[in-house]
């Protein structure tokens, strides 16, 4: 044990260099900065944006439209003159707006006579991002408000005594969602988007961490070969098992450190985006309501769930490390490590992409069995399974990964105990005799 700790200390001293640590710091700083930028953009946009209105009608319903727009987070700016393809840019510039609405002549009279009207609008698009185009995303909602306000106004004249809402929306859905034993009143789409938001970034972090750990250990072995230190190391009075495990534990610890960096970074980034998107208090109220419903549905992870998620991730890292240490033993130098790790990357990419886009149960049986045979599938499906309370699958995944780990670590220890660690190598790019 003492020798193992001496080895571990040396491995960590070798791994924790500025070149390795700097990217962690950069990742955290970058994500925090991105999140803050986005969140400040959202805050800027939370104020009322100007919206150009060319009122060619001037009637009572035109006034209703303008008043309704004022309630939707836009500030209507009245502009004069004809709206044509040539003049519209000038009018938008005059109002300092990106959207212009034209209320056509005869708008109020026609509505009063019972003819539905069109409300032409012009939107200037200068970029395609979500956050930078708050005006565009708010505009759809604003038009819905305009529609219902005008409808209420028409209803009040046409059918006095009948509440406007009955005419506007006589039936509205009250959606209930059932998950396992739990149920809650909340829109189904809100549940779907909540869970996908919660589970999308777990696989991204998993993927990065597992790849990072694999590279680290394979590079550690290849470096021993390239720097000509392996031969000496093997002649020291330290067990082969200590050499293998100290390298694995050191790489695992540094990988977990990187996972921490990515988790903190991503969390800052995501919360920045959420603040940016929610913007106003109505948005955050809706988010709080959704969160309460998710709690009722059992769609939040308890500390025990997080522990299981951590355990699955740890088992996945162990499998990756045990395979990589063998691949690293084949490498002649650090350069050839990348090529040797390709099969491992493919094994990880398959479950990563599949679980990102679909539920594995929809796959044909043969494909599903093949995918479930890959040990790295389990870390990716643990999040959704924990949400759904499928603990059996999670435990099975942990056990299954540990079996793979046991097999590969045994092979790795054998490789290190035999001549092969010094004699075997794959010269990629050269023809073998």
């Amino acid at each position: 044990m003492r020798r193992f700790l001496v080895m571990l200390k040396k491995e960590l001293a070798e791994l924790l260099t500025l070149q390795i640590l700097l990217p962690f710091v950069v990742v955290i700083v970058m994500f925090v900065a991105l999140g803050q930028t986005i969140s400040s953009l959202g805050a800027d946009d939370a104020g009322a944006s100007p919206l150009a209105v060319a009122d060619r009608d001037g009637g009572p319903y035109a006034q209703v439209v303008v008043a309704a727009l004022g309630q939707t987070g836009f500030e209507p700016v009245m502009v004069e003159g004809d709206v044509t393809e040539e003049s519209v840019r000038g009018l938008l510039d005059e109002a300092d707006a990106n959207i212009l609405i034209e209320i056509p002549e005869g708008f109020s009279d026609s509505l009063a006579a019972g003819t539905p009207q069109q409300l032409p609008s012009w939107t200037r698009v200068s970029n395609f991002s979500f956050i930078g185009n708050n005006d565009i995303s708010s505009f759809g909602g604003a038009m819905a408000v305009v529609n219902s306000t005008v409808a209420a106004s028409i209803a009040a004249e046409a059918a006095p005594g009948v509440p406007a809402v009955v005419l506007q929306q006589p039936v509205s859905p009250a959606e209930h969602v059932i998950i396992g034993e739990n149920s809650a009143e909340t829109p189904v789409m809100a549940v779907m988007s909540f869970v996908s938001q919660q589970t999308t970034f777990i696989p991204v972090v998993l993927f990065v961490v597992i790849i990072f750990a694999s590279q680290m250990i394979a590079v550690a072995i290849a470096t021993e070969k390239e720097n000509k230190t392996l031969e000496t190391l093997l002649s020291y009075p330290v067990s082969r098992a200590s050499i293998v495990t100290s390298k694995m534990v050191a790489a695992g610890l540094v990988a977990l450190l990187s996972a921490g960096a990515y988790m903190i970074g991503m969390q800052q980034y995501m919360s920045g985006i959420e603040t940016g998107l929610a913007g106003d208090s109505a948005g955050s109220r809706a988010a709080a309501a959704t969160e309460a419903a998710m709690q009722q549905l059992g769609l939040t992870l308890s500390p025990a769930d997080y522990a299981m998620l951590g355990l699955t991730l740890f088992a996945g890292i162990l499998v990756a490390l045990s395979i990589s240490i063998i691949l690293g033993a084949f490498a002649e130098n650090v350069k050839s490590v990348q090529a040797l790790l390709t099969p491992l990357m493919v094994l990880m990419l398959i479950p990563y992409f599949l679980t990102l886009f679909l539920d594995l149960s929809v796959l044909p049986d043969a494909v599903r069995i093949a995918v479930m045979a890959i040990p790295f599938t389990y870390p990716f499906i643990t999040g959704p399974n924990l949400f759904l309370g499928n603990y059996g699958v999670v435990w099975w995944g942990i056990g299954y990964q540990l079996v793979w780990f046991a097999v590969f670590v045994t092979i790795a220890a054998r490789v290190f105990s035999s001549d092969r660690i010094l004699t075997m190598k794959l010269s990629l790019g050269k023809k073998r005799r």
Binding site: V6, K10, A13, N227, S235, Y236, P237
Partner: protein, 252 residues
């Protein structure tokens, strides 16, 4: 010079090593006495490094016996590693470690006792002769400095048997001279040395006894003086040339 009385520090009998069809070492025997410097000399591919690696317990013999201070290299490699120390020909060091920490790391691997480990580091510090440069990272070391440090690392644990493969390889004349003096002094202190080299002058200066090896077979063994007398030669280079010529005549 040690005379080799009593039990040998190293006994090698019938040692062979095959890599597939290639027979790298074909049944060699030799002993190294306590405090003796014993050299294997031979051309490239003669089987010197393979033999040294087997004695260092990092390659497994195909057959034969290696016993150092009573420990069998095949049956008890872990115990044997405690009393030997190996300097490979192309050895490097951990570039991100400071030299002094490298010495501490090796001392901690060899010794459970802190005081014993600290003493080994002191020996390493003294033998290396690197002074304050020991606090620099190994990545900044020249080849000569690295080799000095590695020799210091090899001997600081005061092994019963030091295995040195081309100990002065790549060193300039002054550094090589210093290193040879150091090895002689350590052997005079009781450490046995098994070394290999291409450099016949170095061997003649350093070794108590020499074995000439070619094609995995030992062709002649003796003190440099004995060998020169036996082959009527002025130096070991001539001995070596005659041994090789004799071998060719036999196999032709």
């Amino acid at each position: 010079m040690a005379t080799g009385t009593g039990a040998p520090a190293l006994r090698v009998r019938g040692l062979t090593k095959n890599y597939g069809d290639l027979k790298a070492v074909r049944g060699i025997d030799f002993d190294v006495a306590p405090g003796e410097i014993f050299a294997l000399i031979g051309p490239n591919g003669a089987g010197k490094t393979t033999t040294l690696r087997m004695v260092a317990t990092i390659l497994r013999p195909t057959s034969g016996e290696i016993v150092a201070d009573g420990f069998d290299a095949v049956k008890e490699p872990a115990r044997m590693r405690r009393i030997i120390s190996y300097l490979p020909e192309e050895a490097g060091a951990y570039k991100n470690l400071r030299a002094i920490n490298y010495l501490k790391f090796v001392a901690d691997i060899f010794f459970d006792d802190r005081e014993r480990a600290a003493r080994a580091v002191e020996v390493g510090r003294e033998v290396s002769g690197l002074g304050d440069r020991l606090h620099d990272k190994l990545g900044s070391y020249s080849k000569g400095m690295t080799r000095k440090l590695l020799l210091a690392r090899t001997v600081m644990t005061e092994p019963k048997l030091a295995i040195l493969d081309e100990p002065t390889s790549g060193l300039d004349v002054i550094n090589a001279l210093e290193l040879r003096e150091r090895i002689k002094k350590l052997a005079a202190g009781g450490m046995s040395v098994l070394l290999s080299s291409h450099n016949m002058l170095e061997i003649e200066f350093l070794s108590d006894r020499v074995s000439m090896i070619a094609d995995g077979v030992i062709h002649a063994t003796g003190t440099p003086a004995e060998l020169k007398g036996r082959y009527d030669a002025e130096n070991l280079e001539q001995v070596f040339a005659r041994v090789v010529a004799d071998r060719k005549a036999v196999t032709a």
